[in-house]
């Protein structure tokens, strides 16, 4: 029998999946930020920007849960389920997991990969070894789960990440609507979101949203030109 290189063999028997099937749905307003119009299954992504990052994450993941997908969070402190529900997440498909100590972290994330569609985790406080990360990322690619690091900082400053990312989103609050000097109440936020990553052509894209708008929805305010800067990341 003719010897076929292992890599060739693997390529031949790998199932063919269309790119569209590998994309998790996100609301249409975010399509401009994401190259394939959704979150690619198997991607390692990151959302930073303090509390606004949470709001952005819930708004983006809402469509996944309403379409029947599951989200699990690992060690994300202070989750507000009310806010998640307001931003459209079907919270009956949300699992909240805490790890008692950092030694269980990898096993927990590993158990969730392949079982849920999105594993969102707070920035790990312990060190993740490069081999651990490679294992995690390749398992996620194989099982089609999106890994999402959620920045858990109180302020807008965020901790440096330990993992390389396919996609990184940065949320920066610009303004708040509704609050005055001693009167009114918070009604809506204007948010700038910038996306960059090695999978989206090396450039960065940015857009300004009302998230939430005064009526509770998410609205695209303006889209700024794609700034290509190959040396940015």
């Amino acid at each position: 029998m003719e010897a076929v290189p292992l890599r060739e063999q693997m390529r031949r028997i790998a199932p063919v999946v269309l790119a569209a099937e590998q994309v998790l749905p996100v609301p249409e307003v975010f399509h401009r930020l994401l190259p394939g119009g959704g979150l690619q299954r198997g991607w390692v992504t990151r959302i930073t920007g303090g509390p606004s990052a949470r709001a952005l994450a819930w708004a983006m993941l809402a469509d996944v849960t309403t379409a029947g997908g599951w989200i699990a969070t690992v060690d994300v402190p202070g989750i507000s389920l009310t806010a998640a529900q307001e931003l459209g997440v079907a919270i009956e498909r949300l699992l909240v997991v805490r790890t008692p100590d950092s030694s269980a972290w990898s096993a927990t994330v590993g158990a969730l990969i392949g079982s849920v569609d999105i594993v969102a985790f707070g920035t790990p406080v312990h060190r993740i070894t490069p081999s651990e990360h490679r294992r995690m990322a390749s398992r996620a690619r194989e099982r089609g789960t999106v890994l999402l690091e959620l920045d858990a900082a109180i302020t807008t400053r965020s901790r440096p990440s330990q993992l390389p990312y396919d996609l990184s989103l940065l949320a920066q609050p610009v303004d708040w609507v509704g609050l005055g000097q001693g009167h009114g109440c918070l009604q809506g936020r204007v948010l700038d979101v910038e996306s960059h990553g090695r999978r989206i052509g090396g450039g960065s894209r940015s857009a300004r949203f009302e998230l939430p708008a005064v009526d509770g929805t998410v609205r695209l305010l303006e889209e700024r030109a794609t700034v290509t800067s190959l040396h940015a990341r």
Partner: protein, 517 residues
């Protein structure tokens, strides 16, 4: 129709109260979902009855001791009682913690008649209970009649003679069937006693009330409680797992329980069947075997099966040293005792039961073994005025995942709650400093007057950020009658110069951060 099986029912009164460590002379009540589900003798004498709301119960009896319902603890506490009865017969079935039953034919003959057996069992159970509550015993043909006999609350065991069950039941009120929708119709049809209902033709009952009606009709007539289309299960429905290494801790056992329940459920589903009675068998590494049956009024869902296996394993592993397994459990089996057609009476696990739901359900079981039962949580709506109140997290194992409530029952707002958007990240006991332009801490009077507008804030006392917009105070004073859970706070919304919006409040003379938007 099968001949009714002669059955003994042992009923320990007020079991939830006993399991909550409330003695009969203390006024205590056990609540579930804000309603009283059981109350102690002393509480009943002052009018605390089942179904009352917490507030009403506390109004009637201010010194009432209140405990939240914990069925797992009830099952654990009941295990010694069942072990005591196990001296008389090996095949005991539990309907719920506090009530168990067994067929008396064999044991009766061995111990010399129903009366002798009943008094022996009563002595054994009373010894175990040690005055914590009362137990009552009923023997009759058929489970339903025996249960009614046990509930008759006579001092001595209530024994209904062989063949006398129909006469015993006939004069009793129809409401004992405990099917409010059915008995309501029967009552309006003029059928006031079980005897009246039993005289109807069975075919007429089937035509008008369906399967459930026939079951009730059989019970009222003192016949076998088994639903008419139940059949004996074939042997291949036995689900078994071998545990290597043997399991000694309850969290590991809980993991095995879920696996076992899922396996049995899948096998039943493949046959289009469901079951209402199961037997759980455990074998320890030293070869001891333990056997116990559980029964349920309707078909058992996966969640219900898991609960029962878990309660049972918990009971065995935490029993007193004399009856506990001498080593870890090495093999578990679960098999159904009857088969019903799966009519979809009960929702599947996780409600809709898509493939994604099943995968997530399996992940829950795996994670519970990995990080502990209390660290895997899901959401449930509870209602409240503060963002951390309205929807709360509960351990996935403590919640019926298929029947969760996730949004308010109606659209009416909670007075005093802040309008949406809600903060996205919540904090507890996180102090923050809020000062005015003179760097003096801002204070709020009891009437809600501010000493000065807030000008800057700091989380660590070193880095200060100017406040660019603010509003408040919104006063909240809730549950003042409950020292542990009362809240009296004044809430504010602030936006700092970085564009971060915060929800802060004044309570106990200090400023706290509740959440960030």
């Amino acid at each position: 129709m099968n001949e009714p099986v002669r059955t003994m029912v042992v009923w320990c009164t007020d079991w939830p109260v006993v399991a909550a460590d409330i003695t009969p002379d203390q006024a205590g009540a056990v609540l579930h979902a804000n309603r009283v589900v059981a109350s102690s003798e002393a509480a009943r004498t002052v009018g605390v009855t089942r179904g009352l709301r917490r507030r009403e119960a506390q109004r009637r009896c201010p010194e009432l001791i209140i405990a939240e319902r914990d069925i797992a603890a009830e099952a654990r506490a009941f295990e010694p009682v069942v072990s005591a009865i196990e001296r008389f017969t090996p095949r005991i079935e539990l309907t719920q913690p506090g009530t168990c039953l067994f067929a008396t034919r064999g044991p009766s003959r061995y111990f010399g008649g129903d009366e002798t057996l009943a008094s022996l069992v009563e002595t054994a159970v009373r010894e175990t209970l040690d005055g914590r509550t009362n137990c009552s015993i009923g023997i009759a043909d058929g489970v339903f009649a025996a249960r009614i006999a046990a509930r008759a609350r006579t001092t001595a065991p209530h024994i209904v003679g062989i063949g006398e069950s129909p006469d015993f039941l006939a004069p009793l009120p129809i409401t004992l069937l405990d099917l409010p929708e059915l008995t309501d119709v029967l009552w309006r049809l003029g059928l006031r006693t079980l005897g009246d209902f039993a005289t109807l033709e069975r075919t007429d009952v089937l035509g008008r009330f369906g399967r459930e009606g026939v079951g009730a009709h059989a019970r009222a007539a003192g016949l076998d409680e088994r639903l008419p289309d139940a059949v004996d299960p074939p042997d291949d429905l036995r689900a078994t797992i071998t545990l290597d290494p043997p399991v000694e801790r309850i969290d590991q056992a809980a993991f095995a329980a879920r696996q076992l329940a899922v396996e049995l459920h899948e096998r039943l589903q493949a046959k289009g069947a469901a079951c209402s009675r199961v037997t759980i068998e455990a074998e320890s590494e030293h070869g001891e075997t333990f056997l116990r049956g559980w029964r349920h009024e309707g078909a058992l869902s996966v969640a219900a099966l898991t609960d029962r296996v878990r309660w049972q394993l918990d009971g065995w592993l935490n029993a007193s040293p004399t009856v506990r397994p001498s080593g870890g459990l090495s093999r578990l089996s679960l098999w159904p005792e009857d088969l019903l057609p799966a009519t979809g009476r009960q929702l599947g696990f996780w409600g809709g039961e898509t493939e994604a739901d099943q995968r997530a359900g399996r992940a829950v079981a795996r994670l519970e073994a990995l990080v502990g039962v209390e660290n895997v949580q899901v959401a449930e709506w509870r209602g409240g005025r503060e963002p951390d109140d309205a929807i709360r997290l509960f351990p996935a194992s403590a919640v019926d995942l298929g029947e969760r409530q996730l949004s308010p029952p109606d659209e009416r707002p909670w007075p005093g709650s802040l309008p949406s958007p809600s903060p996205v990240q919540l904090f507890s006991e996180q102090p923050i400093e809020v000062v005015d332009v003179m760097q003096v801490p801002v204070s709020v009077s009891g009437r809600g007057d501010l000493s000065a507008p807030p000008a800057s804030i700091s989380l660590d006392g070193r880095r200060w950020k100017p406040v660019v917009a603010w509003a408040g105070p919104w006063l909240l004073d809730e549950r003042w009658w409950d020292p542990q859970r009362s809240r009296r706070r004044a809430r504010f919304q602030l936006v700092d110069e970085d564009g971060a919006a915060l929800l802060v409040y004044v309570e106990r003379g200090g400023w706290w951060l509740a959440g960030t938007y």
